[in-house]
């Protein structure tokens, strides 16, 4: 081949290579709306009535639809319901379903499906760990009797007036009932289908019907990988732009970050030390959670803890800001009130807990004031020193020890016996009351301040605080006459929170958000603060 021929051949080859490149580029520009999300644990179930943990709710949120839902801005809006009304006494809710609702196999979704779902939730034979939602959080008529086997499930106070009208009867007013039904446990379940698949229901991807944005096409119990595809029958299917989602369980934190960095996953939750390493990363997003960490005080046994000055001194001796900045880091923020910010709005649209310093005088770190109150408390009790035990889960070891060290340093004569216990023993100890102080983390199930405030009622099986004025106030908050007057109700809830803080009934510590790394091209990724799961509508991924 002569030189000219050689040149020609090379230029043809180069052109081919360039064309291949261009074509290759074209292929990478083709629509790729598959989203990969890393989860840090397998869901314990995909049966919506059985779910009881946030991780499981996150998975389920992709394929269930509920009567009401939260928007990405945390506004409560109807989803499967078109509208709803409540009776004057606050005991009867009527939900009108949207027209043309369908299950993922095309069959109509009816009001009867909600009736069956709630019956399953209350049914002792189903054995849902979330049964308290229907028996305690809202007291659906006869739910308790059904759960204790005293009544058959068909006596539950839920009925379908017609295909599109659902009526729920409550035993006591529940002003937050619409917020509560955003939980997947209240999502519909088709009775006919359930009886056809029998015991296999929700054990495999093909033994479930779906009403939400996606359907599962790959799942097995304790799956490490779940695949979802768009549900064409979902009522808002047009607003769902991502065709498929892979949920990949990655237990190891460092592996999750490597997968994220190498593009194997688009979104990953990060915890532990890696949260600190990613501080300042523009792709790091912290989503607030309706979660409060606090020190629960045993008001029942130790006479010293019945003294308000002692309790307040303990609270004011803790430097929460330093703990958050030096030990807990990203995602955590100190708090000196009961209600965490960002999960409930006042009638004027402002955050219920927007003012973070509102109750600082009762809880903010002030060693001089703490010492003064402490000495006052000790003299009232006629003692010069005090020994208290402090129970905490072993997983919170560092921070619990730091809290106790701060208390002992600030309060002369205080000796704290540390009692680390396994996580699963923690709740038993709390319920038995065998402690002076116990470190607790509490996540609200529904977006209403009473999700926290009702923890301090004497009727709560974990609580030892008993103040008749406080009880009366909360009872009024839940009453029918106040239920429909949101402004008054919110004022009462503010007053209830103030009472707890004034009385130093509890020692709030911090709130925590969930940290996620989200690739630049992914938009609209949100989590609800109450743990109902991901907000799927509006989720998009930039096409490359």
């Amino acid at each position: 081949m002569d030189r000219r021929g050689m040149k020609k051949t090379v230029s043809v080859l180069l052109s081919l290579v360039m064309m291949t490149g261009v074509l290759g580029g074209c292929s990478s520009d083709s629509v790729n709306t598959e989203l990969n999300i890393a989860l840090n644990d397998s869901p314990s179930t995909v049966d919506p009535q059985l779910t009881y943990e946030i991780n499981t709710n996150n998975v389920i949120s992709f394929f269930v639809a509920t009567l009401y839902e939260y928007t990405p801005d945390h506004e409560l809006v109807p989803c499967l319901a078109e509208s709803s009304e409540v009776s004057d006494d606050g005991l009867i809710y009527t939900f009108h379903l949207k027209e043309g609702l369908k299950w993922s196999d095309g069959r109509p979704l009816l009001a009867e499906d909600f009736v069956f779902a709630m019956q399953r939730l209350a049914d002792p034979d189903v054995g849902s760990n979330s049964v308290y939602l229907i028996t305690d959080s809202c007291m659906v008529k006869n739910a308790r009797e059904i759960n204790t086997g005293k009544m058959p499930v068909n006596e539950l106070g839920v009925r379908a007036l017609d295909d599109r009208t659902l009526i729920v009867e409550l035993e006591a007013p529940c002003p937050y009932f619409r917020a509560l039904v955003t939980l997947p446990n209240f999502s519909p379940c088709c009775e006919d289908y359930y009886h056809v698949v029998g015991e296999d229901y929700a054990k495999r991807a093909d033994t479930m019907l779906y009403a939400g944005p996606y359907i599962m096409d790959r799942y097995e119990p304790l799956a490490m990988q779940i695949h979802l595809t768009k549900n064409p029958y979902y009522l808002n299917a047009d607003n769902i732009s991502i065709e498929g989602i892979t949920l990949q369980v990655i237990n190891a934190n460092q592996q999750a970050v490597m997968c994220y960095e190498s593009g194997v996953v688009d979104i990953t939750q990060i915890t532990g030390e890696l949260t600190e390493l990613t501080e300042g990363d523009p792709e790091l997003h912290v989503y607030p959670q309706a979660m409060l960490s606090f020190i629960d005080i045993n008001h029942g046994t130790n006479p010293a803890l019945k003294n308000r000055n002692i309790r307040m001194a303990l609270s004011k001796s803790i430097d929460r800001v330093s703990l958050v900045e030096n030990l807990l880091r990203t995602g955590y923020s100190s708090i000196t009130r009961i209600i965490p910010p960002g999960f409930y709005k006042d009638p004027d649209g402002s955050d219920f807990a927007g003012d973070r310093t509102m109750y600082d005088e009762y809880a903010v770190y002030d060693t001089d004031e703490a010492k003064r109150l402490w000495e006052l408390g000790l003299s009232e009790l006629g003692i010069s020193s005090l020994t208290l035990n402090f129970v905490y889960a072993t997983t919170s070891g560092d921070v619990a020890e730091a809290i106790c060290a701060q208390m002992e340093k600030a309060l002369p004569g205080l000796k704290i016996e540390l009692k680390p216990v396994p996580r699963k023993e923690h709740s038993r100890i709390r319920m038995s009351g065998d402690f002076d102080m116990i470190m607790v983390g509490w996540v609200a199930d529904y977006s209403d301040p009473t999700a926290f405030l009702s923890c301090f009622l004497s009727t709560d099986h974990t609580n030892s605080y008993n103040d008749p004025d406080y009880e009366a106030l909360i009872e009024r908050c839940q009453s029918a006459e106040v239920a429909n007057n949101n402004e008054e109700r919110v004022n009462l809830m503010h007053r209830a929170e103030e009472m707890l803080m004034e009385d130093a009934a509890v020692i709030p510590l911090w709130t925590v958000g969930r940290s996620y790394l989200v690739h630049e091209g992914v938009e609209g990724f949100r989590l609800t603060p109450t743990g109902t799961g991901f907000v799927v509508t509006g989720l998009t991924k930039e096409v490359r």
Binding site: Q225, Q248, N251, Q255, K424
Partner: protein, 310 residues
Amino acid sequence: MLKYIGKRLLISVITLLVILLILFLLLQLMPGSPFNDEKLSPEQVAQLKEKYGLDRPVIEQFFRYIVNMLRGDLGVSYSLSANTPITELLVNRFPITVQIGLASMIVGTFSGLVLGFLTAFFRNKVLNFIYGLFTLLGIAVPSYIFAMFFSYFLGYRVDMLPLLYDFRTPILSTVMPIMAMSFGVMSVIARFAKAEASDVMKSDYVLFAKCQGLPNGTVIMKYVLKNSLMPVITVVASLLVSLLTGSLVIERMFSVPGVGGLLTSAIDSNDYSVVIALSFIYSALYIVVMLLLDILYCIIDPRVRLGGRD
């Protein structure tokens, strides 16, 4: 021989029943219950315990479990995977764990034998150095460090192998877990193989064979290898059981849907039925492998059989 096997089988069954009873008694001492959510009232916890029969006396639970087990029913998971039959959980997971465990065993044993025997037969400095390095690393460094190393370099930096287990590429995505798990096996086997082969090579019968003028290759293949393998089989058997029960850390690291992490998760969440089923299966596996090993010994070495008779 048959009488011996029958006797061993009977002892194995009794051992398994005793293990099962001890497990039932130990689980009563575990703190908490499978239903640890503070939001559940004591009555609701009692209701859930009644549903799963956990409110019954332990002996009744024990006998009920045995009856169900004979029917192939290992119960359901209480909390880890609510209401899922345990057999269903295991059927999907055991094959993957066994596949990775067996592959690690084969790779580790084969490479260990090659390394050990080569070092014993050809005493040169380079081989000795490689042997020393690999066996030291394999014994001193835990498998999860290898897993992290392979993940970072082969998975993340070079992007040669998948960082996670993927059911669409089951062979490729198990390469790194197998590599990480086989390293330890290789070093143990290499040490045994080298030590045994060195001893056998010094033995009288090998010396005699060499004196008879047999070629070196024949002596090694016919006498040294065969006689060096016997003690290695014992080591392989015990390693095999630990590999078949899965590696918690490796499975968690590579998101392998095996049984490795299941037992610890079950203990952590007090999922009694999963703990009992897995512990029972592990014990049974160990007993069966040991029984097979004893039988194999009887076949390979008649002296063991005679010893048994005496």
